[in-house]
Amino acid sequence: MNSYLKYFLKKFGWYLLTLVVAITLNFFLPRMIKGNPVSVIVSAMSQGMSDVNAQKKLYESYMHQFGLDKPLFQQYLIYFQNILHGDFGVSFGNYPRRVSNILASAIPWTLGLQIPAILIGWLLGNLLGAFTAYKKGVFDKIIFPAALFVNSMPFFALSIIMLYVFGLHLKWFPIGGGYGYQMIPNLSLSFIGSVLQHHFLPFISIVLVAIGGQAIGMRSMSIYELNSDYVLYAKLMGIRDSRVVRYVFRNAVLPQVTGLALSIGTMISGALITEIVFNYPGIGTWLFTAIRTLDFPLISGCTLMITLAVLAANFTIEIIYGLIDPRVKATQMEGQ
């Protein structure tokens, strides 16, 4: 296991480095957007105010409060320090709410929507892919082409169609939000019921798209594995079909795990768009609002959370992969 520890530490080091680079980009990129957020806020607050001097005062006090009057590099150092303490500053657009406070309220919604949706979509997609490879028939002729079709649609298109058909037209499900807007979050059954109702449409949209993408890859991997020599040999040694299928599934799914690592970024960003379409109270919707109002601290906070999520997901996948695939273990750990 010693060599596995080495593998783990090496990977960990790389991910840490990536994280630092990401934080840096996170700070600088939003500041390249044209426009001055403070003037947006000030002009909003000072509507009807005629005194130019008072406006200027207000502007300067905000600049100072947000630290925007300091040189950029100094701002960066302060930012970095604050992040390490979990402090993302004060939101420009929701002044005086703290960004960390907003994120804390949004993250459970996003996690609650995306983790189950992506995992279930991945699992169902792989099962479907394996079935179409193995059983052919109805799976291969109807369900698989349908999966292909869904996969070729952009995330937002599917979400909008779902919203339109089941929300607006059939009125089966609410059209937006995380729970009934007249409700106050608590643990009552009626509130949980409302949450689940609001959860359903965005959840299904994400699951459907994920299924399509995974099924395609899994199908061709399974066909390849089914034709391999070890399958023939195992069958001819009298091993029952169900067990052979398990061999095949395992070997075909391993590359799919890497596939998940590669596609998790796309999946998360797609899922964020779904949140926007359904006006779901998660990170995606907040990020969308923040971009519209040039709310730098909130933008950085959201993107940082997203980066963190993608990195964490990738890291977990690689670590698991290293554990379950002996081939990776052998090649990755020895190195070239």
Binding site: K235, L236, M237, I239, N251
Partner: protein, 336 residues
């Protein structure tokens, strides 16, 4: 002398391809195999040797299909058994298989010992895990394999070792018939020698009762087999004692084959190898008459009229209308 273990009569099998064509890869093969004997099968690549091996196992799955004929092992026609009986009582128990590319015959993500357990679980349901492990370890010891190979993944073993592991796995249930499909052609001469020694010792110790040995290396066959069958385009064209067939082949194809053997013996250099122009017939087509007719220098009209039956010539069986004696290939096959 020995008791007959395996009788195959008029076996015909075909591949059903994706394009819905039938490839008649085994087209009327009959032979018997006696206790203690090694029967060699040699022939042009693509003539159906591996397919014959698979067909004799009696366990068909797409794209390979059974057409007609019988396979009798120890008095039981295995083609009359139910598929489940065949799988649990015949495969591995009565007749076992060593695949052509033993290098890829092992599931890359399964430890060798675990795979053997899976096999034993199918055939010896009463055994405890320890008993299974003990059985595997004993067999490994007999084959001079280190016990650590049991806990290894296939990619941790060298080519020669993998081959020996497959030999051990295939014979774990002491089958009556062992079919070895080119078990050594991927090995270098030294590992080949070791593998052959093992196979022969298994036969001598009675762990297997008889063997079908497929190879295109005739010099090797000469030291391994008792009898040999020469196969061409799905049929057996000549059968007899190995020394006689190698040194005095009777069928024109066998004569060409023997004339092209290369060994590092001093008279081979500068010696003209016989080669036959043209390609073997397309196995998709229904064929009439001699399959070798297009490439044979002795062909007359009669050869193409109807199916050539097998006939005895001395102790030999040949599938040719004429009695050609083997001369040095320079005279018999010089065409240009």
């Amino acid at each position: 002398m020995g008791q007959t273990i395996l009788t195959v009569s008029e076996l015909k099998t075909f591949y059903r391809t994706r394009l819905k064509e039938n490839v008649h890869a085994v087209d009327g093969v009959s032979f018997t195999l006696e206790e203690g004997k090694i029967l060699g099968i040699a022939g042009e690549s693509g003539c159906g040797k591996s397919t014959l091996a698979l067909s004799v196992m009696g366990f068909y799955f797409p794209p390979l299909n059974f057409k007609s004929g019988s396979i009798v092992i120890d008095g039981i026609d295995i083609m009359k058994l139910s598929r489940e009986d065949l799988r649990t009582k015949v495969l591995g128990e009565e007749i076992a298989y060593i695949p052509q590319s033993a290098m890829n015959a092992l599931n890359p993500t399964k430890r060798v010992g675990k795979f053997i357990e899976d096999i034993l679980r199918e055939h010896r349901p009463g055994l405890s895990q320890e008993q299974m492990q003990r059985l595997a370890a004993e067999r490994f010891e007999i084959l001079n394999l280190p016990t650590r190979a049991l806990t290894a993944y296939p990619n941790e073993l060298s080519g020669g070792m993998k081959q020996r592991v497959v030999i051990a796995t295939s014979t774990i249930l002491n089958p009556k018939v062992l079919i070895a499909d080119e078990p050594t052609s991927a090995l270098d001469v030294s590992s080949q020698k070791i593998a052959i020694k093992l196979l022969k010792s298994l036969l001598a110790k009675g762990f297997v009762k008889s063997m079908l040995f497929i190879t295109h290396e005739l010099p090797l066959l000469k030291h391994v087999a008792d009898d040999v069958m020469i196969m061409y385009a799905g049929q057996i064209v000549e059968r007899g004692r190995i020394d006689e067939v190698i040194f005095k082949p009777m069928h024109p194809y066998a004569q060409a084959l023997m004339g092209s053997i290369i060994v590092p013996e001093s008279d081979i250099r500068g010696h003209r190898l016989s080669s036959i122009p043209g390609a073997p017939p397309n196995l998709k087509n229904e064929m009439k008459g001699c399959r070798f007719a297009d490439r044979c220098i002795h062909t007359v009209d009669e050869c193409r009229k109807e199916e050539i039956p097998e006939r005895a010539r001395g102790e030999r069986t040949i599938r040719c209308l004429f009695d050609f004696d083997y001369q040095s290939e320079e005279t018999a096959h010089e065409r240009r």
